[in-house]
């Protein structure tokens, strides 16, 4: 243990000395100043938005019109909040598992791991820092949610809820670390983590009573006390895998590249899907375009992650419509819009992979427009199905017309084009002078790059959201929806792939 600590301290001290020699106090001041200014701007804007939303929710007419018939508004709002909190905790656990959470960098893997010493001092400080960071950030992020979902609570109660959620997030990360240790029986432990987080999701809503906070802090303390002495036992290969993924993800965030981030966090294709569609793919074909379409279909079937994400967003959208007292309609529409954009982004996996090598499309013996249309086919079909399911569910529980389902299917086609457009965003040009924004300095055209794809998805959803709002489907809305989706498809089909 002592030798290991010496090695770590030696490396840290020398690295610190090197870094100090390369940066000045002035650089440090500029970094601190610009980051603090950006943080204050973000916090003030977020605060204003929360206050405005809270005022809107406080002043609204309870029991007003919603997206579905009043008799279907049967779900207590608390159920939705608990479900959302649980999903957030599960999301934290899954992402933590994907990026480690116990990791080493490439250099550490090459120079530290082969040494015949205890690995705990090598991984513990970074992991401990990560736990603290997750706890603090999760607590801070939960405050607005707490304020909006429990309007009548005191500030102390909100603080208690936020700390409870922060401790829950810490538990989720600790659970992910335990999964790293339990390689052999990972399935059992994964189920245990997912089930264990369920009661934790309820506790923030019971936070006004001190016992819920005490319970979650005690459990967190026990789990962390169990885990910290064992982090040195995480297998070296697992430490390196986590380090590679977290390094890739951190670089993507630093470069504000959403597609790269999704590539970093993308799960490997599951072994069971590796042969999916093999017969269909092997069937002889005469035309090149058929072969390309077939290849895209098979790639989509093999690369798509589990349908948990789309189903989860579908459930959230429907639940947001069913809760009582009703949310403001605009907020309900906002939930549907966010769910649509999130689901659309998930269907661009094949396009995101092929976008890494745009030259591949140029090699295909078909026109580039056809190649781009082929890539849109499966996202458009799956999103048409998803939108049909969503609108079908809403039609079933409301007095809305069944033509809403048709509208949903047409919207899904346009959303598919938006998904592929987002997946093939050009890389940011870092060679041009950056621009100053309230959030700090960002590369020129960064915002327009980030909005690419989302623009067409939102355009495709606009007519159907209007239909939700009106509660009816005018013939001109179908026409507008067709035009919106056709525009999205045309724009994507005619936009050259970035190089």
């Amino acid at each position: 243990m002592r030798r290991s600590r010496e090695v770590v301290d030696f490396t840290r001290a020398r690295t610190r000395r090197y870094n100090r020699a390369r940066s000045s106090v002035r650089d440090l001041f500029i970094d601190v100043y610009s980051n603090a200014l950006a943080a204050v701007c973000v916090l003030m804007m977020a605060g204003s938005l929360i206050v405005a939303l809270r005022d809107e929710l406080t002043g609204r007419n309870l029991g007003g019109a919603g997206l579905v018939a009043a008799r279907w508004q049967v779900l207590p709002a608390e159920v939705l909040w608990v479900v959302l909190t649980y999903l957030a905790l599960v999301g934290i656990a899954l992402i933590a598992r994907r990026v480690g959470p116990v990791t080493v960098s490439r250099a550490q893997a090459a120079w530290w791991l082969p040494l015949p010493v205890d690995r705990r001092p090598m991984v513990l400080p970074a992991f401990r820092g990560r736990l603290v960071l997750v706890g603090v950030v999760a607590s801070a992020a939960y405050v607005p949610f707490s304020v909006l979902t429990a309007l009548d609570r005191s500030p102390w109660a909100h603080a208690g809820s936020a700390v409870t959620f922060g401790a829950g997030a810490l538990l989720a990360v600790a659970g992910a670390a335990i999964l790293q240790l339990a390689q052999g029986s990972a399935r059992v432990f994964r189920a245990a983590v997912l089930v264990g987080l369920l009661p934790v999701a309820v506790l923030p809503f019971l936070a006004p009573s001190a016992w819920s906070l005490a319970v979650v802090l005690t459990v967190t303390g026990i789990v962390v006390a169990y885990l910290l002495p064992r982090v040195g036992d995480v297998p070296g290969a697992e430490l390196q895998r986590g380090g590679a993924v977290s390094g890739h993800a951190a670089a993507s965030i630093f470069l504000i590249d959403v597609n790269e981030l999704r590539r970093a966090l993308a799960a490997e294709p599951r072994p069971g899907t590796s042969r999916r569609g093999a017969r269909f793919y092997a069937r002889p074909t005469r035309r090149a375009v058929t072969a390309v379409v077939r290849a895209d279909i098979v790639a989509f079937l093999r690369l798509q992650p589990a349908p948990v994400g789309p189903l989860m967003w579908l459930g959230i959208s429907v639940a947001a419509a069913l809760i009582t007292p009703t949310l403001p309609v605009l907020l309900q529409l906002g939930v549907v819009l966010v769910a649509g954009c999130a689901t659309a982004a998930g269907t661009g996996t094949v396009a995101r992979r092929t976008a890494v090598l745009p030259e591949l499309d140029a090699l295909l013996p078909i026109s580039l427009v056809l190649a781009r249309c082929s890539r849109m086919l499966m996202p458009a079909l799956s999103l048409a199905l998803w939108m049909s399911a969503l609108t079908g569910a809403l039609v079933a529980v409301s007095s809305g017309p069944s033509s809403l389902i048709l509208l949903g299917a047409i919207a899904g086609a346009g959303m598919g084009a938006g998904a592929v457009r987002a997946a093939t965003r050009p890389h940011t040009d870092w060679t041009t002078p950056p621009v100053e924004t309230p959030f700090g300095t960002i590369p020129r055209d960064q915002v327009s790059s980030l909005l690419r794809g989302v623009d067409m998805t939102v355009l495709s959803m606009a007519p159907i959201l209007l239909a939700f709002y009106l509660g009816t489907v005018h013939p001109w809305l179908i026409l507008a929806q067709t035009i919106a989706s056709a525009t999205a498809i045309t724009v994507q089909a005619s936009t050259p792939n970035p190089r």
Partner: protein
């Protein structure tokens, strides 16, 4: 496993995603021996030695080091096995000397500074000892990696094409160093495309191919020289 054997591989099959990259491998090496692994590009030599070093799992078969299964995370395994592979990754803020000091301290050498100075001198890095890896040439970075493998004690040394990026003089020095290390009792597994390095160091030679065969070192040298 015979007494004195450091490494034994029995009917070892290596590869990726369940697909073997070469034929079945069976080999054994005793203390003080140098086993050369030869074959054409893509034959699977590096995959074989990566599996021997515990960097990846075998598809089937058995590898034992000092009679124990390969456990790359065990402290004993890390103490006994040193390996140099293709990639070179360094701490950006540490100098060449500091990298070697790190290894020397991690292995609890009695006089780490003396040992580091000796390795730096042997690999011709004394003048560049205070340079960070980014400032070193490709060949110098390769020397630094080799120095890190030779500075530490090990009963099994695995070298994957150590001659890469080295000039002829350094290749000769490396040849002497491998022989010297073997004489001191270390078992060495060496992947190489250099006939001279092979004939001057190897006591046994295996050809990695679709069908594996044991060959003598002279024949191995002729194979990789294309003769």
């Amino acid at each position: 496993m015979a007494v004195g054997d450091v490494l034994e591989a029995e009917r070892l099959v290596v590869g990726y995603a369940g697909a073997p990259v070469c034929g079945e491998v069976s080999l054994r090496i005793a203390a003080g021996e140098v086993l050369a692994v030869v074959g054409f590009n893509g034959a699977g030599k590096s995959t074989v030695v990566r599996t021997l070093a515990g960097r990846q799992d075998p598809l089937s078969g058995d590898v034992r080091i000092h009679g124990l299964p390969v456990m790359p995370d065990a402290i004993g395994f890390r103490r006994e096995v040193a390996a140099v592979f293709d990639g070179d990754v360094f701490f950006p803020g540490l100098t060449a000397r500091e990298h070697l000091l790190l290894v020397a301290r991690g292995h609890a050498l009695d006089s780490p500074d003396v040992a580091v100075d000796a390795e730096l001198a042997f690999f011709g890095l004394t003048e560049r000892s205070h340079a960070i890896p980014e400032a070193l040439s490709s060949g110098q970075r390769r020397r630094l990696l080799l120095a890190a493998a030779f500075i530490r004690p090990a009963s099994l040394l695995i070298l994957d094409e150590p001659e890469q990026r080295l000039d002829p003089m350094m290749r000769d020095a490396l040849t002497d160093r491998i022989r010297q290390r073997a004489r001191a009792g270390t078992a060495v597994v060496l992947v190489t495309h250099d006939p001279r390095l092979l004939t001057k160091t190897a006591s046994t030679c295996v050809l990695i191919d679709e069908v594996l065969a044991h060959v003598d070192t002279e024949r191995g040298a002729r194979i990789i020289a294309g003769a």
